[in-house]
Amino acid sequence: MASQRYNQAPNGAYVSSTRPRPASTRPKYKDPARSQPDPAELKKQQEARRTALARKRAKEQFRLLTPEAPEGRKHKDVQTELYLEELSDYPEDASVGCQTDAFLDRPATPLFIPAKSGKDVATQIEEGELFDFDTEVQPVLEVLIGKTVEQALLEVLEEEELASLRAQQRAFQELRNAEIVEVQRLEEQERRHREEKVRRLKQQREVLENERVIAEKIAARGFAQQYLADLLPSVYNTLRDQGYFYDPVQRDIETGFLPWLMAEVDSALEKQETALTMFDTLIYDVANSRQKT
C-alpha cells in the first residue's frame, strides 16, 4: 500500500505507518504469453471493425434507395456511358508475390561502451564494518532463549507445585486413613467389649435369678412337705373326731336302737308319770272330798 495512516486493522493490531511516497512510474509488467494488444492497437482494431460494419450497412442502404416501379411500368437498366464498362463489386486485383531473402546470420552488435565521462567512485563494505554479527546477535538470542526458557520454567514450576501438593495430600491421606482405621477399630473393639460385658452381665443375672427361683421352689417344696407331712393323720383324726368314721353297727345302735329304747323308756315313764299324776289327783280329790264331808 502506498500510504497508510494510523488505523486499526480488522484484527485490532496497531500497525505502523510509512512516510507517503509518490507512486512509481515504471511500466507495468506484462506476461508476453498472455498479453493483450496495446490499447492503441485495440482501438485501431475496433475502428476497423466499426468501419467495416458501417460500410456494409451503407451498401445495404444504397441498394434499397431506389423505390419500386409503380404499376404497369418496369425498371430497366440502361447504359448512359459511351463505352461498356463491366461493373462489378470486386475490383480488379492481381496477385503479386514477393519474398525477402532468408535471414543471414548477423554478427552480434558490439557492446556499446559510451565514452567514459565523469569521475569514477567505488565503495566496498568489508566484513565487520557494518556490524559484527556475533555481538549483535547476542542480545536477540538472549531475549529469545531467555523468554522461552522463562516460559518453560514457569510451566515446570507450576507442574512441580501441583505435584508436590499432590504428594503432600497423599501423605496426609495415608496418615488420615491410618488414624481413622485405628479409631474405628478401637471403637469397634470397645463396642464389642461393651456388648459382651452387657451380655455376660445379663447372663449372670439370669443365672442368679434362676438359682433364686429354684431355691425358693425347693424351700417351698420342703415347707409344703413338712406342712403336709402330718396332714394325713390330722385329717384322719379330725374326721374321726368329727365322727366320719364310724362303726356301722354301733352307729346303727346309736341312731336307731337307743333312741327307740329311750323313746320307749320315755313313754313308759310317761305312762307311769301320768298314772302317778292321775293317782295323785285321785287321791287329792278323794282327800278333798273326804275332808269336805
Binding site: 484484527n11 485490532g12 493490531a13 542480545p139 536477540v140 531475549v143 523468554k147 514457569l154 510451566e155 507450576e158 501441583l162 497423599r170 491421606q173 495415608e174 496418615l175 486413613n177 491410618a178 481413622i180 482405621v181 485405628e182 474405628q184 477399630r185 471403637e187 469397634e188 473393639q189 464389642r192
Partner: protein, 343 residues
C-alpha cells in the same frame, strides 16, 4: 532498520487466534468487554488470550475482580461448542488458584457447569469434569456439590462415560466422599458400591486406581462398610491385592482394613482368603501398602482363628518395627499387640 535496543517483551502477535492484549491495566477490562461481543471470532480470541493469562495468579485475581466470571457463566450456555470448551478450560485454570475456587463458589458457577454434564462434545465434558474434580478437593466445594445434587448424577455418569473422563469422575467421587459424610450418604443411596465394584475389574490401571481410592473413601462410614459386605466386594479386593500397580494394592488393602472393622467384614475377608496376600504385602517397601496391610492384619487378628494363623508370622511383623517411618512402626506395634492378646 529498527532501533538497536531489543525489547524484553515477547512480540505482541505470537498466536494469531488470540486477541491482542492491551497494555497494563487495560488488558483485562478489554478482554472482559470482548467476551460479550456478538462476533464469534472475537469471543474465541478473547478466550484464547484469557487462557494464557490465567496461569498467573495476579491476572487470575484481576479477572475475578473485573467480573469476568459473570460473562463466563453466560458463555457456558453459548451455542458454539468451541466457545464452551474454551470457557470450561479457562474455568479449570482458574480453579488452580484459591481465589478462583472461592469465586466459583460465590458466583455459583457449579450450577451452570452441572448442566454441561450431558454435553455431546467430549473435550468440553472433560474440562467440566476437571473443574468438578478440583472443586471436590475441599469441604466447601463438596458441600456445594452435594446441595446441588451432583453426587447421584456423577454416580450414574461413571458407567456411561468414556475412559479418560471416567477416571476424572471416579476421582471426583472419591474426593467428595472422603471430605464430606453427607456426600457419602448421598452416594450410598444411589448404589455407588455396585457401580464401583464393576469398575474394579476394568482393564485400565488408572480406572482401577481411582475406583479403589473411591472404595476406601466409601468404606469409612459404617453404612458403607455394611454395603461393601453386602455387595460381596471383598473377593474382588483380595484379587486386586495381587495387582501390579502399587497404589491399587495400597487402596485395596485399605478398603479391606476399613471393612474388617465390622465383624461381618472380618469373616468375609477371611473367607475370601485375605490373610496370605496381606502378609505378602507387609514386606513391600511402599509406605502406604505396608501400613495398610499391617492395619488390615490388625483388624483381622481380632478373630481367634486368624490370630492363631498370624501367631506363626509374628517374626515378620517384628522386622517391621524398625522401619524409619513412624506410621509403620506404630502400625506394626499395634498389630503385634493385638495378635499376642489372649483373653
Amino acid at each position: 532498520m529498527a532501533g538497536s535496543r531489543i525489547s524484553e517483551q515477547l512480540p505482541p502477535l505470537i498466536d494469531r487466534n488470540q486477541s491482542p492484549l492491551a497494555f497494563g491495566q487495560r488488558a483485562l477490562p478489554r478482554l472482559a468487554a470482548e467476551l460479550q461481543n456478538p462476533e464469534l471470532t472475537v469471543r474465541q480470541g478473547a478466550l484464547a488470550a484469557l487462557r494464557d493469562l490465567i496461569h498467573d495468579p495476579e491476572r487470575a485475581y484481576e479477572t475475578i475482580y473485573h467480573g469476568c466470571l459473570e460473562r463466563l457463566k453466560v458463555l457456558l450456555k453459548d451455542e458454539d461448542s468451541s466457545i464452551r470448551t474454551a470457557t470450561t478450560e479457562v474455568l479449570y485454570l482458574l480453579t488452580a488458584h484459591s481465589v478462583g475456587r472461592e469465586a466459583i463458589l460465590r458466583e455459583d458457577v457449579v450450577g451452570c457447569l452441572s448442566e454441561l454434564l450431558d454435553e455431546p462434545v467430549d473435550a468440553c465434558r472433560r474440562n467440566t469434569h476437571l473443574v468438578l474434580k478440583m472443586m471436590s478437593g475441599f469441604p466447601a466445594g463438596v458441600a456445594c456439590m452435594v446441595s446441588l445434587g451432583l453426587v447421584p448424577r456423577l454416580v450414574m455418569k461413571v458407567a456411561a462415560e468414556t475412559e479418560d473422563i471416567r477416571e476424572l469422575v471416579l476421582s471426583t467421587l472419591g474426593s467428595c466422599m472422603r471430605v464430606d459424610t453427607q456426600a457419602a450418604q448421598a452416594a450410598l443411596a444411589s448404589d455407588v458400591v455396585t457401580v464401583l465394584r464393576e469398575q474394579l475389574t476394568h482393564s485400565s490401571t488408572n480406572i482401577r486406581r481411582e475406583a479403589t481410592a473411591a472404595m476406601i473413601a466409601i468404606s469409612v462410614p459404617p453404612q458403607g462398610k455394611v454395603k461393601v459386605c453386602e455387595e460381596e466386594v471383598l473377593p474382588v479386593l483380595v484379587q486386586l491385592l495381587s495387582d501390579e500397580d502399587l497404589e491399587i494394592k495400597a487402596n485395596a488393602a485399605g478398603t479391606i482394613m476399613n471393612t474388617a472393622v465390622i465383624t461381618k467384614g472380618k469373616f468375609q475377608s477371611l473367607q475370601a482368603g485375605a490373610l496370605a496376600p496381606l502378609l505378602h504385602l507387609v514386606e513391600c517397601e511402599h509406605r502406604a501398602v505396608c501400613a495398610n496391610a499391617l492395619r488390615a492384619l490388625t483388624c483381622l487378628a481380632e478373630v481367634p482363628r486368624a490370630r492363631e494363623q498370624l501367631l506363626q508370622h509374628l517374626p515378620l511383623l517384628q522386622t517391621r518395627l524398625n522401619h524409619p517411618e513412624p506410621i509403620i512402626q506404630r502400625a506394626s506395634a499395634t498389630a503385634i499387640q493385638v495378635i499376642s492378646w489372649t483373653p
